[in-house]
Amino acid sequence: MTTASENIVLHVADVSKSFGGLKALSDVDLQVREGTVHAIIGPNGAGKSTLLNVCIGRLKPTTGHVVFNGQTLDQHQPHEINQLGVSRVFQTPEIFADLTLLDNVMIPAFAKRDGAYRFNAMAALSGQADIRTEAEEVLQDIGLLEKSNQIAGSLSRGDKRRLEMAMCLIQKPKLLLLDEPTAGMARHDTNMTIELLKRIKKRGMTKVIIEHDMHVVFSLADRISVLAQGRIIAEGTPEEVRNSPKVKEAYLGEAH
């Protein structure tokens, strides 16, 4: 385990991303170690979401590479990146709003089991007991099991977020990317989410988390990178970042 923790799961290598004249990311270099929770913080417009979009293949970097588990992701489609083991929770929940919660969680499990495409039109859903059980366990885990037959679109915003997290967790990704998982949540929901994330942390899943809520960041993160105007201005343990004068100036200064 000690050697495993030295493995770099995600390496964002000198990535820049420009939109026309605007440089959203400038030479961002980031290494995420296996089994850690790596938080990315920074003021609005710092390029945090752009960074995640580059990681999942939604955006292609203008220069630089994203390397996942030793594999360069330049030519990969989003679904291929997911099949390699990267799942993402979006800032606005991306769920299957017309389907039931159970369906929402079963679908990613099928992706994990059957790959990017499988023509199983003559198999019966009712015969997929293993996937159903797995989905129910995950729903139980996030406390939404009793709503499993509801249509997902009818959930509250907080529940939608947790559902999306369940959809990612059932895939047991090697790397989970979370874009502000507690934004817009009530205190109670936030605490539930922190508890959930702590429990997952024990399972050794690597996570990159973007978060505004410092309470969440400092109670979860092993390492923190601070992004401002598309550059990483500081990186270190929570203690180091908390005491860095540069960070106070660029980011925490705003809040205090």
Binding site: R88, E94, A121, A124, S126, I151, Q171
Partner: protein, 382 residues
Amino acid sequence: MFGNLSRNDWLLVLGFAIVVLVSPWTLTPFGAGYPALLQKFCIFGIFAMGFNILFGLTGYLSFGHAAFLGVGSYAAVWSFKLFTMNVIPAVIFGVLFAGIFAVVIGFVSLRRSGIYFSILTLAFAQMSYNLAYSVLTPITNGETGLQLTLQDPRIIDNAFITPGEGLPQTDLFGIPMNGYPGFYFCAVALIICFFLTLRIFRSPFGMMLRAIKSNQNRMRYTGFNTRPYLLTAFIISGMYAGLAGSLMAVTDPLAGAERMQWTASGEVVLMTILGGVGTLIGPILGAGVIKYFENIFSSFNDRILEQLFSFLPDAAREVAVWFTGLFVGEGWHLTLGVVFMLIVIFLPGGIMEGLQRIYNRLGGGSGPGAGAPDTAAAQPAE
């Protein structure tokens, strides 16, 4: 292949089969109990059901599905002309060629979604229609339409039997496919298609198609390559249309280009929406209702209307006959338009939503109603 369907689904298939097979008796009081109309119900039922696999499950609205219907018809008639009057090869050829055609059109059209996809399919279908009239005349026989002739080689038939006088009839191993045998052949095809559609609706594959309709982006970031899923649905749906087209040729062995016109593509969209998009039975109901009313309303003429309004004084009668005359006979499309508008405005879920509401009103169910159009017919016990 036959396992894993729940007991309710088996009952549904059984019930459906019984309803279809006894329809010559049950529909007689409504003036629809004759084979020419009944087989139309079946053929367009298959067409709409197939269309619904694409539109209802994935949300991709094809506006060119009649092209596959046409290809199916042409392929079937060519099978009659070249090989045999037996309908089985004709149906196989119809489905096969429509499938191949769907691979090509689907591959190109599915590069876009939404309205652009619809326009691409429409363009392809209109292109096929115009080609059938012009450069493809050697294959399609242009305006006259493709027909059987006395000079046809029919190599398989002619190897075994000497051709009789006049044009031969389509047959199923000796049973001529006109009248009721023709209807029963179409009915069996409809029941088989219903069974297959039910399997697709209840399969993980069907679930993925629904998920694509719900949120294609999420599907991609969940690890699915959505394009092949869509293409498969497109091909399946094209093959259903090809089957419908070949059945048209089975019951009446000629094929014309007008079968591919955009109005024919539009009709199947109307049938599906009228019946209930994404429901199992809705499109078949929609097809039946439209074909039934087409038959009833288009047969009305001024003389029948005069009789109908004979109780009115002369002046009022003339007005009444003139006004209702707009909606019947040639003008029955106006009726269809009005009915369609009313349905879309008041019952967006189509006939199936209407039935669900009636069912709920009667205190029968606590189903979610409009939110889950599938529940009404498909899951009676859930």
